[in-house]
């Protein structure tokens, strides 16, 4: 493989091997790039792509900066930061795969343990698909072409699956053991810590657990356990919270613990939902999204609650 491949996909085995033999000359520059990488990943949720005219030594620096970044992230000692970092790394790789050759994309896939066949479609086993597909309505298995155990995907969808696989791989490999990490990297980590936003504190929802509809209770749990909730699920939860009388700010804060949280997007969406006066989806709709978890004998999750926030139970049709 070429150096440019490893610079795009520094989590591959080949890249690791390369790093164990290659030598970076400018340690100072390397540290700078690595710090940027982590700050961008955690702070902005995005690592800028490399310029196209990098020479070999600069490409090597890129690969090396990934290795150093992982040490820095490990030193931050936070699951939340690890998740956020992994998401940004995965997005970066995904952008490269989108325009890379099939051959290279398949190499990455193989590396991730996702085995793919290409004819008219890019097809993956349903097991891999279920492990890595985004949890949203259009990626629901039922809406997919599934034949002989294989899910047929367009190229961009296949890349999306690989993005998730990259994310999970990076997440599962972190944190690294931090004993013996050189002092300059420890210093870098402290610098990074000062330039990234604070880890959000979980919001205690000021409501008795028993008052929530079971489906919403489940969504709240999922939110806390940092599973990346699907868009539909977030939307349903947000609208529900608004409908039971929570303020926009509180709802936004509720979502801030999610590692792929983007404050401005979330705020926009929640405000939009509040302005439009969206109604909580009915139990039938919740069911069709696969979000209903019980059989409460009500028509809407709203009907489940009693006297929350000092109001009388909501009326529903």
């Amino acid at each position: 493989m070429e150096l440019s491949f490893y610079s795009k996909y520094p989590f591959t085995r080949g890249a690791k091997e390369l790093m164990s033999s290659a030598k970076v000359r400018d340690e100072f520059q390397l540290m700078g790039i690595a710090k940027r990488r982590v700050v961008d990943a955690i702070g902005k949720g995005k690592i800028p792509l490399m310029s196209v005219e990098l020479d070999d030594s600069q490409l090597l620096l890129q690969v090396a900066s990934y290795a150093v970044s992982r040490m820095i992230v490990s030193l931050l000692k936070s699951r939340y930061y690890v998740n956020r970092y992994a998401i940004a790394e995965a997005k970066r790789a995904s952008s490269y795969m989108a325009s890379d050759s099939d051959e290279n994309v398949l190499s990455v896939a193989r590396e991730l343990g996702v085995e793919c066949e290409i004819d008219n479609y890019y097809s993956v086993s349903f097991q891999d698909y279920l492990r890595y597909a985004p949890k949203s309505v259009d990626y629901k298995l039922v809406n997919r072409r599934l034949s002989r155990g294989r899910v047929m995907l367009r190229r961009d969808e296949f890349v999306r699956i690989l993005e998730e696989a990259v994310k999970l791989k990076i997440e599962s490999e972190l944190p690294l053991k931090t004993e013996g990490i050189p002092a300059d990297i420890n210093e870098a980590a402290e610098e990074v810590r000062r330039s990234i936003p604070k880890e959000p504190q979980p919001v205690a929802v000021s409501i008795e657990n028993g008052e929530f509809a079971p489906c919403m209770k489940k969504l709240l749990e999922d939110l806390k356990t940092v599973e990346n909730l699907s868009h539909t699920a977030r939307w349903a939860l947000a609208v529900y919270m608004l409908n039971i009388g929570m303020k926009v700010d509180e709802v936004v804060k509720l979502f801030s613990t999610s590692p792929d949280f983007d404050e401005s997007v979330t705020r926009y969406q929640v405000e939009h939902a509040a302005k439009r006066g969206y109604k909580t989806p009915s139990c039938a709709s919740m069911d069709s999204y696969g979000l209903c978890v019980s059989n409460c004998g009500v028509k809407s999750p709203l009907a489940y609650r009693r006297g929350v926030f000092g109001k009388s139970p909501a009326k529903h049709d």
């Binding site: 279920l130 072409r145 599934l146 059989n295």
Partner: protein, 382 residues
């Protein structure tokens, strides 16, 4: 053990287990076991069995009225709470129950009893699950799919292939949604209104019968309903249906190339609900479905006895010819005297019994045990 009925049933179960060969599930040492008695189907759980011999011994010694094991594999199956067992993976097991089908006959006989009608329906449902979903869509081979009668009113389907073991709760839920058609989306099925160039109208494109998965299944069903003149079953109005039938040849040809214009989908929602409802596998309500997706549930040991029927949860090699009311009956014919409270007419083996109400009877052992297990009879001591 206080009541004579339970003692009698247990002694008969013991006799059966003394001569029967019950095969242990794969990797028995990693399974959690549960046994049940007269009051409850699971009275004790969190048990471990080291090997098939231990299981064989337990069956004879304890003669449990119910015995089930975890679909999951654990490092420490006898530890508790659950988290300490250390989940290693799980089989994919589906539980199809006549009670979940909500058939009209249920109003007649309730959940306690079954009739030929619901047993046939749940059998068709099992065949559908295997032959229209697990094999063509999920790509499992026949030999990876184990099938057994539940012992009472349904079937259990076990997929033990290694490739499904590590599927997490979310993935199992998705599989259930796939089978039941939950969350299916009209547009994702290839339906699309495209404008006709130069005109104000648009025409409907859709899936073709040769498409894979749900797409193909939907096109096949609608084609079939057209040729059998049964479009009304999916909410197409009689008038529109008649219009389609007049040109049914033309319609069938056009659907074969994915052109759906001829079907008038005025009541799209209704059509959609009915089509999906017809095609999906009926796995009960949300709670039942969540149980199906539960990767730590206990499931009846195939070829063990069911304490509510005294019938065998018999393994099945060819479901088409399987008649549960005959093939799952294992006890003998020697007469047993019982006092029957109440029972509707029922068939077991070749013979039909009842209806009974407050009467003393001498029935063949298998039928007497059946009623004792239903708790609609007691031993008759004179």
């Amino acid at each position: 053990m206080t009541n004579p009925e339970e003692m009698y049933v247990r002694s008969k179960f013991r006799e059966h287990y003394e001569k029967a060969e019950v095969q242990a599930p794969g990797e028995i040492e990693k399974r959690e076991w549960g046994v049940g008695g007269w009051e409850r189907k699971i009275e004790a759980r969190h048990m471990r069995m080291a090997n098939p011999q231990e299981l064989g011994g337990r069956l004879v010694m304890d003669a449990p009225l119910f015995i089930s094991y975890s679909v999951a594999y654990y490092e420490f199956p006898d530890m508790r709470p659950m988290e300490r067992k250390n989940w290693l993976g799980a089989d994919l097991v589906f539980d199809l129950d006549a009670d979940h089908l909500e058939l009209p006959c249920k109003n007649r006989h309730g959940s306690k009893w079954v009739c030929e009608e619901c047993l046939n329906a749940v059998k068709d449902e099992s065949i559908k699950l295997i032959e229209q979903f697990l094999i063509p869509d999920f790509g499992f081979s026949k030999k990876e799919i184990g099938l057994n009668f539940s012992g009472n009113r349904g079937y259990h389907i076990h997929v033990t292939d290694k490739s499904v073991r590590e599927l997490r709760a979310y993935a199992r839920r998705e599989i259930v949604d796939y089978l039941t058609g939950t969350g299916i989306d009209f547009n994702s099925m290839g339906f699309e209104w495209v404008p006709v160039p130069g005109r104000r109208e648009s025409k409907l494109l859709g899936p073709a019968p040769t498409d894979p998965a749900w797409q193909g299944r939907i096109a096949q069903l609608v084609s079939k309903l057209v040729s059998e003149r049964k479009l009304e079953e999916v909410g197409v109005s009689e008038r529109d249906a008649r219009r389609v039938y007049k040109k049914s040849e033309q319609f069938l040809t056009s659907i074969r190339s994915g052109k759906w214009d001829a079907v008038k989908l005025d009541k799209k929602e209704l059509f959609w609900r009915d089509v999906v409802g017809k095609l999906g596998v009926k796995l009960g309500d949300r709670i039942d479905q969540n149980v199906t997706a539960d990767a730590s549930k206990l499931i009846r040991l195939p070829d063990s006895l069911h304490g509510e029927s005294a019938m065998l949860a018999k393994k099945i090699s060819s479901i088409d010819r399987f008649d549960p009311l005959k093939d799952a009956v294992v006890f003998g014919k020697q007469p047993v005297r019982i006092k029957i409270k109440k029972a509707p007419e029922f068939r077991l083996g070749e013979q039909t019994f009842g209806p009974f109400k407050d009467e003393e009877k001498e029935l063949p052992e298998y039928a007497a045990l059946f009623l004792l297990c239903k708790k609609e009879a007691v031993l008759w001591k004179s």
